[in-house]
Subunit: 158 residues, 2 copies
């Protein structure tokens, strides 16, 4: 069953993120889903997302890890509270810190898969570990510490 | 004296990086310079490089730290070898790991300044610490471990 990605539940005014906002026409519009107890997302880099010939730009990889990390944090937080992402109050996370280890060059021209493991869920802080794979091979690993956005920045309920 | 940025010395085939390649027309074309014993770069995010309204996308900040880190690594490595960036063999670094701490939201709409401190220079590995500032205030800190690109990937001398 393919349900809606977490990013499609974000309130409109918080849906312009360059990495994952559904309303940012210039952005990547990453979509993060549950996949059992882990999370998953897919993204195909464009030809100009190049580092060196044939390989994906590391900054894009960091960006994808960042957004899949905050998306996975939101998914995990709703589940921990035992409620659906279309319930109020909306939960939205921002990144406190990001660690990326580039294990090998990431092939450009294929769809990338991001996997997310939920490491720790607290009321306002969620830690996730994110992998990036190309052709089934993990090329980068990330750790994202996400913190809940201050309520003053979430103006409207959904 | 404003000299050429390190990225303008990269061999043509290694100048397509989305973050800092001078030949990537779709990219950020970041330019890293010496500033005394530290390094400096400037970048003004576009309106669509948004995270939440009014603030810069964290993935872009990670990208800028990444490219200023590898650029600073190249600058430091040439200086350590006592030669200019237009001498052979060319040195070019890729990122082994990237750590970013987001200290506070980064204002969108102003020019960002990146500062780089050279922490460690070895033959094939350079560690730098990078700051991102908006309106003179540091909003993010990064650490970049850069490693020299394998010679097999640098086909042409400059």
């Amino acid at each position: 069953m393919k349900i809606k990605p977490i990013q499609d539940y974000y309130p409109d005014e918080l849906s312009y993120c360059y990495g994952c906002g559904r309303l940012n026409k210039n952005g990547h519009q990453l979509k993060s889903y549950w996949d059992g107890d882990e999370t998953i997302a897919h993204f195909t880099p464009k030809p100009h997302h190049i580092a060196i010939p044939g390989y994906v730009y590391g900054g894009l990889i960091a960006s994808l890890i960042d957004c899949h990390g905050t998306g996975s944090a939101a998914l995990a937080s709703y589940r921990a509270e035992g409620r659906e992402p279309d319930s109020n109050p909306p939960l939205r996370f921002v990144t406190a810190s990001l660690q990326v280890d580039y294990l090998k060059p990431t092939l450009l021209g294929v769809e990338l898969e991001l996997g997310g493991k939920i490491i720790e869920v607290k009321k306002r802080k969620v830690i996730t570990e994110i992998t990036v794979s190309a052709n089934g091979e993990i090329t980068a690993r990330g750790k994202v510490v996400a913190v809940q956005m201050p309520e003053s920045l979430i103006k409207n309920e959904i």
